[in-house]
């Protein structure tokens, strides 16, 4: 089987650069479009990593995220971001993140963590081997999300329901009923 590492690294570096642009650019529209470019690169990366379901979902969600972000925020105000030169905060956070990165590098290189490309497949072996005979779904991912772990999917649908309900609640015109004449207590 072909080696996907070069493509993966290219995409990852592209994503990192895209994120830097998204974070540092002073125009909000550019920032939103850059972050969407990162999302599309992520979708392609999922395709390379053998996850077409996730790639499709990521792609369509990314379109929606772009529309919502532009429609919801940028159209209101696309003035350039004000510069805040808080040098101390930046230095402190850079040192802190350097520590996190070093810590991460130490852990992912340790012997306890499985190498890239060699998953343990402890429970998943059962899904792969028995998925079709047990659930009759050819797409093993679907058999996992809608049969073996359908309860999670109920939770997922509920999160979406809750956030939409919450968004509608927050977009209400007025929070409180307009006060009528106060009743003077006897």
């Amino acid at each position: 089987m072909e080696n996907i590492t070069p493509q993966l690294y290219t995409l990852l570096v592209f994503m990192v650069i895209g994120s830097i642009v998204a974070i540092e650019t002073r125009n909000l529209l550019s920032a939103v479009i850059s972050v969407s470019a990162v999302g599309f690169a992520l979708s392609v990366a999922f395709l390379f990593l053998g996850a077409p379901d996730i790639a499709i979902t990521q792609l369509v969600v990314e379109i929606l995220v772009l529309i919502i972000l532009i429609r919801g925020t940028i159209l209101l105000d696309n003035t350039a971001v004000e510069l805040h030169r808080d040098t101390l905060a930046v230095i402190v956070s850079l040192i802190f993140f350097g520590l996190i990165l070093g810590f991460g590098a130490m852990i992912f290189g340790s012997r306890g963590f499985p190498e890239f490309g060699e998953p343990l497949m402890n429970v998943s072996r059962v899904y792969v081997m028995r998925g079709l005979p047990e659930t009759h779904a050819a797409n093993i991912v679907t058999s996992v999300i809608l049969d073996y772990r359908a309860y999670d999917t109920l939770g997922e649908a509920t999160v979406l329901f809750g956030s939409i309900l919450g968004a509608l609640a927050i977009l209400r015109k007025d929070g409180k009923v307009a006060k009528k004449e106060e009743v003077v207590p006897a």
């Binding site: 790639a55 797409n139 058999s143 809608l146 049969d147 999917t153 939409i164």
Partner: protein
């Protein structure tokens, strides 16, 4: 929101039907090919959003009213919950009590197909509603503010 030019409107009308059909395919064949209720639902929602962007909100709302959207949203979620309840009759929540049928056929794998359809309904309508709410809200509250800034 008045909508865009005639060219855009015509193309939109033409394309929307195909997008909906494609979304339906993604939903119905979710257990056999990549995709599923969620991706398909978002695609259908995108079709309605396209309609809304192209024609203005009135046309989109005439195809799917706001109240109808809420009802379908809740109904999709309830349908999925109901599938879990049906399983409880067999002793376990989400027990797959439907007949599983032949492998590799559309009507197979028991509850997965209805669950996919329920999720697609839920996701499609709820995303459409939230987009509509964001767009409508912007118009309602900011028209004066934006006009002030432009003048």
């Amino acid at each position: 929101m008045k909508g865009l030019t005639v060219i855009v409107k015509t193309i939109t009308d033409f394309v929307v039907a195909f997008i909906v059909i494609f979304g339906a395919y993604i939903v119905l064949y979710g257990h056999l090919t990549p995709g599923g209720g969620f991706a398909g639902g978002v695609i259908v929602a995108c079709a309605f959003i396209l309609l809304m962007l192209g024609h203005g909100k009135e046309v989109a709302f005439s195809r799917l009213g706001e109240r109808m959207g809420h009802v379908l949203d809740s109904a999709g979620a309830l349908a999925f919950l109901l599938i879990g309840w049906i399983g409880l009759a067999g002793g376990y929540f989400f027990l797959n009590v439907f007949g599983r049928g032949d492998q590799f056929r559309l009507l197979s794998s028991g509850m997965i197909l209805p669950a996919n359809i329920a999720i697609a309904f839920k996701v499609g309508t709820s995303l459409f509603i939230v987009f509509a709410a964001l767009a409508v809200f912007r118009r309602r509250s900011f028209r004066s503010m934006i006009e002030d800034e432009l003048s």
